[in-house]
Amino acid sequence: MSATVLPGTTVPAQHVNLKLGPGLTQNSRTNDASPSIVTTRAGSLNHSSNGSKWWVESNSRRYVPAPQESVIGVIVQKVGDGFRVDIGSAHYASLDGLAFEGATKRNKPNLKIGCLVYARVSLAHKDMDPELECFDAQTRKAEGFGEVKGGFLVRCSLKMCRDLLDPKHFLLPLLGARFPLEAAVGMNGRVWVSAKVPKQIIAISRCIEAVDPDGGGMEEIDAKAFLGTLDV
């Protein structure tokens, strides 16, 4: 169930172990016994079945970093031991040279300006530049993060990214049934895709654009027909 909310709406969220997702903030007033939960963006308000998790779902094109989200960034500058990375947010993120699997003081990854990295946001604070890491901080294993080579970068809306990450969404299985492909979906509106021949990559890119709710907004049947016209 969901209701449409506007920024500033008070949300009746109450739970002993309450978790707030995107678009919600706690309005802590000193004289008020129970702090109220207020929305910060417009969209549809959702909550989990037991009412412990609440979030606002909406579509936008500008990424606002949040911790633990995986993103795709472009290296724009080398700074000392680390890198400055463009992840599509208002500020560049910083990526430490040691935040890679197997990186030591002596053996650091050699990334050039313009390289693409698949990374996780490790710190996102409103008063600081976001920070990224390319490994799991506990296990120090890459877990699929790191530099991505070849392929192509597709840009889409943030809703489309979340849809692509949903295992029940039809698009990636539909494309995968036609030809083998690799994809890395960032939450920042960027999807890195790779396939054997350029024609297939172009087909993926065009399908993502066509299905994007911000662009074509195609449904499954139409997308299938569209893919059929692409001759791959």
């Binding site: 070849g150 392929g151 065009r206």
Partner: protein
């Protein structure tokens, strides 16, 4: 904050696929994105979309006293400013190089090519002339804003109709649109602008109507403005790779074909729009 230049995989993939004459949006090398023209309730309000590039054009007319050096001619002014709404690349206040280029080109294509007959905008010599103000809003940039803006501006001028004016002696009477049908502007010809992108690699053929990525990775742009009657109005090339005369002639010939196609699209759309408008003529 200026966005960084395209990443290495994007650059390599684009060049690789262009070599195989594949474009990212499935177009042919010499194919423009089909323009979508949307007309507003007012006359002279047009939104033009080339793919995701969108430009809004609006024409307003008002009566002013002409400058003493040209007492028989009406005035046309073009206002265009690229705001950060179009893309994060543009900053408010400080005009970027691209903005300067677009503004100058618009001036050449729409004003200096004498597309609109300025003398027909005169009402009473030295006393009253029409002042047309064309405002262009750049709503979103997905490459080739110049062609989109030129098209939007030209269609807006063709779509606009000014109120009928009657002059008896020194008396000027303006008839409301409800009273007398408004009059279209006297348009001599319809120039369209086409932008071609060239690349360093000789294996990559030139492409028409580049997208944002193609435009940023190109090694030079050539803009041709001409009308369907094969009259060349402007040819602009600001640096970039050197070109042969043969190649330029070839490009111009392609542009002529495209101008004819575009002209018929525009005329069909204008006719469709005019058919649904209720105009009362008593």
């Amino acid at each position: 904050m200026r966005p960084p230049s395209p990443s290495i995989p994007e650059k390599e993939f684009l060049f690789h696929s262009l070599k195989e004459s594949l474009r990212l949006d499935g177009r042919l090398a010499m194919e423009i994105r089909t323009p979508v023209l949307t007309f507003g309730a007012e006359l002279g309000w047009v939104e033009c979309a080339l793919g995701k590039t969108r430009v809004l054009a609006q024409v307003e007319g008002k009566m002013v006293k002409p400058p003493p050096e040209r007492p028989f001619e009406g005035l046309i002014t073009i206002h265009s400013e690229i705001s950060p709404m179009a893309s994060t690349e543009y900053e408010p206040g400080r005009p970027s190089d691209e903005e300067v280029t677009i503004t100058r080109m618009l001036d050449k294509v729409l004003k200096r090519s004498d597309a609109v007959d300025k003398e027909s905008l005169c009402i009473l010599a030295g006393q009253r002339v029409w002042h047309l103000r064309l405002t262009l809003h750049f709503l979103s940039d997905a490459g080739n804003m110049l062609d989109c803006a030129c098209l939007a501006g030209m269609v807006a001028l063709k779509h606009f109709r000014r109120p009928d004016v009657e002059v008896v002696g020194d008396e000027v009477t303006v008839h409301e649109p409800t009273e007398r049908a408004p009059i279209p502007l006297a348009i001599h010809h319809t120039p369209f602008c086409f932008t071609f992108a060239f690349f360093h690699d000789p294996a990559i053929p030139p492409i028409l109507d580049p997208t944002q990525l193609e435009q940023r990775l190109s090694a030079g742009l050539l803009s041709v403005a001409l009308n369907p009657q094969r009259e060349l109005c402007v040819l602009q090339k600001l640096g970039g790779v050197p070109l042969d005369t043969d190649e330029v002639v070839k490009i111009v010939n392609i542009a002529v074909e495209k101008a004819r196609d575009l002209n018929s699209i525009v005329n069909v759309r204008l006719k469709e729009d005019w058919a649904v408008r209720k105009v009362e003529v008593r």
